[in-house]
Symmetry: C2
Subunit: 120 residues, 2 copies
């Protein structure tokens, strides 16, 4: 099975566990923005938003660059690959189990039919 960096998944999922940060990600999906702009939009102090951006940056979900006074934030595309892969993997595992169950059921039914055909 594929192995993921646990620490990486920790910080990424933790970053995603806050509604404001998910909102920021959606916003940045539409257009870049400065920290001040984001702070305004999400009714929060500049310092507060700065913290959120730091969290998102550490998680690799956002990249920033500073030009003059203003730091511009943009969504970091590659950030969700690993998380999506983890979730997908987990779901596949389940699908596999259900398919296995289906097979067992089919086999049992086939056997029943078999029994019927051979009497008893």
């Amino acid at each position: 099975m594929v192995h993921y960096s646990e620490a990486r998944l920790d910080t990424a999922f933790a970053a995603l566990s806050d509604a404001t940060r998910r909102g920021v990600l959606e916003q940045l999906g539409r257009s870049e923005a400065s920290i001040t702009e984001l702070a305004d939009r999400f009714h929060m102090t500049l310092t507060g938003m700065k913290k959120h951006i730091s969290v998102l940056e550490r998680a690799g979900l956002v990249t920033t660059r500073k030009v003059g006074r203003v730091r511009t934030c943009r969504s970091g595309l590659s950030g969700l690959e690993e998380e999506a892969a983890w979730i997908e993997n987990y779901r596949k595992m389940w699908s596999a189990r259900f398919e296995a169950l289906d097979e067992v059921i089919e086999e049992l039914q086939a056997q029943e039919n078999d029994d019927e055909r051979h009497g008893k």
Copy 2:
């Protein structure tokens, strides 16, 4: 755009942000287990594991049922639908942006060729 329950996403992503809990989910993907069994496997007190299970249960990622003394835990299949959808949605948004960019670039190139053909 689809709307997700922010509180639901909060708790689900938070639940996924811990390596032990992700491990438990993987384990439960392979087979059901009692809390004691999980506590042993993850080198943790029974009480500690109970807390993790509670978190996973609240997040809708695990279901449990108690028979006699023992509470059996099983992976809650439906739990990850919404998170996967959120991530997918976010990624699609980005794909769309890149496609739009591609179109712009293509148009610019087409215009360049056009200019060349008509001289100037």
